[in-house]
């Protein structure tokens, strides 16, 4: 039995990867992830020079919503509300970050970038490749990106430009939306090597005492353990039609959650919030939970069960339906008594 997973021509020692964010902003963190046997690390997204302001972060930038103080990190109902921006150094720092991380760790590294002009995308992707990253993820779906940048208007050209500029694997990270399936198809047609589904949604919260929006005063990224239910659906939908591998991300708290993503067709799973609230040991714990499941189910490699639940999906036309009306409860009582008291 082994967690070894092949993904984009790389051999990962686990399907569990660290997602782009504050847990992959520094070399030491890459080493921590490696110690915990993460399969790979997606580095924090670096923004093009045009978005230099996104290298500066407001304080505070996080708020734990609905955090159960009694449950501590075991809580499964919280939301992590955040306005975290891009990698906080310059692009030169970022290339160096990749080089130094490669020097100090063996875990596969996937860099992540954001820009608007296709030219910037291509230049940055080239620099990432030269710096020695194993792959690149295109973050075209951050909840903080300017709303004016659309998929068709900006990012299709970006994917094409990057595909033309580099030879290593390119992942495209998409956001949950009704257009997601279409975007998956387009990304695949453009030659993307894999899909990362999904980034977090843009949310909003206000404080009713002060009657002001919380935190920095504007919309924020929001997610939590509950977010897995719609990402699981998006992964399933995409897995049914795409031929390229899928890296699922969203709401994973345990090994069971990873298994769910795999059963719905994901090859790898990216985690972040659980590391932030439960610590780095979460990675090793989740690996162990996956192994326990495999042991219990007699599975030797996750490829044996990948997409298994997809095959068991019921087509809407084949869902068995019964008349529910006679048993609908007290609201139908008048039918029986003729009159209500």
């Amino acid at each position: 039995m082994s967690l070894t997973t092949s993904f984009l021509g790389l051999t990962l020692q686990s399907p569990v990867m660290v997602a782009s964010g504050p847990a992959s902003h520094d070399v030491n963190q890459v080493r921590l992830a490696e110690e915990q046997h993460a399969g790979a690390v997606v580095l924090k997204t670096a923004c093009s020079d045009k978005y230099e302001h996104m290298r500066f972060w407001p304080r505070p930038r996080y708020k734990l919503l609905d955090w159960d103080k009694q449950m501590d990190g075991r809580s499964k109902v919280f939301s992590l509300y955040s306005y975290e921006q891009g990698y906080s150094g310059t692009l030169e720092d970022y290339w160096k970050f990749i080089r130094v991380s490669k020097e100090h760790a063996k875990v596969p590294l996937i860099a992540s970038i954001f820009a608007d002009d296709a030219e910037d995308w291509a230049d940055m992707a080239k620099r990432v490749e030269q710096s020695g990253a194993d792959a690149i993820e295109l973050d075209i779906s951050s909840p903080h990106k300017p709303g004016s940048l659309g998929f068709e208007t900006t990012f299709v050209a970006a994917i094409k430009a990057v595909m033309g500029a580099v030879r290593f694997p390119v992942l495209v990270k998409l956001a949950p939306s009704p257009e997601l399936l279409h975007q998956c198809r387009v990304a695949e047609e453009c030659g993307a090597s894999a899909l990362t589904l999904c980034n977090r949604l843009r949310g909003f919260d206000v404080d009713i005492e002060t009657q002001r929006p919380i935190l920095h005063g504007n919309f924020a990224g929001v997610g939590g353990p509950w977010a897995k239910y719609y990402t699981l659906r998006h992964v399933a939908e995409a897995a049914l039609v795409s031929k390229i591998p899928i890296s699922g991300t969203g709401g994973v708290m345990s090994g069971e959650d990873v298994i769910k993503y795999v059963l719905l067709g994901a090859t790898t799973v990216q985690i972040l919030s659980v590391i932030m609230v439960n610590g780095w040991e979460s990675i090793a714990r989740i690996n162990k939970e996956i192994e326990e499941y495999m042991q219990r189910k007699g599975v030797t490699s996750l490829s044996e069960i990948r997409g298994k639940a997809l095959q068991a999906m019921t087509h809407p036309e084949e869902i068995i339906r019964w008349s529910g009306e006679p048993k609908s409860g007290s609201r139908n009582l008048w039918k029986e008594t003729g009159e209500q008291e």
């Binding site: 902003h25 520094d26 304080r59 990190g73 130094v100 005492e209 935190l215 439960n278």
Partner: protein, 109 residues
């Protein structure tokens, strides 16, 4: 009822403090309020909170925030059950990332 609860947790809502335009805010533990419940050290993702012994303190221990490590992120505020964490101005700090590792400094790469 809601407002009663809000009052209790008022200080836990991490709005940027009033001095935030001038100085980067960082968190600080008000030691007299701390009940040494051990909740905040694990929630801090930046290893900025440690528990220290305090002879004479009601609980003999208290949480302490290491200024140099605190990124002012706001996570710890929601973990504290007694409103013991407040914002203070980081007067000699700059709004710069605090996680850059020495590995990035001593290298010719």
């Amino acid at each position: 009822m809601i407002s009663g609860q809000m009052m209790k947790y008022r200080g836990l809502y991490p709005f940027p403090p009033s001095f935030a335009k001038e100085f980067p805010p960082i968190a600080q533990v008000v030691e007299e309020h701390c009940i040494a419940c051990d909740r905040c050290p694990p929630i801090c993702f930046f290893d900025a909170i440690v528990m220290e012994n305090r002879p004479g303190h009601k609980y003999s221990r208290t949480a302490v925030i290491i200024n140099a490590n605190c990124t002012g992120c706001g996570l710890c505020f929601d973990a504290c059950p007694v409103d013991a964490i407040i914002w203070i101005p980081d007067k000699d700090g700059e709004a710069k990332p605090k996680t850059a590792s020495p590995l990035m400094e001593d290298t010719d790469l």
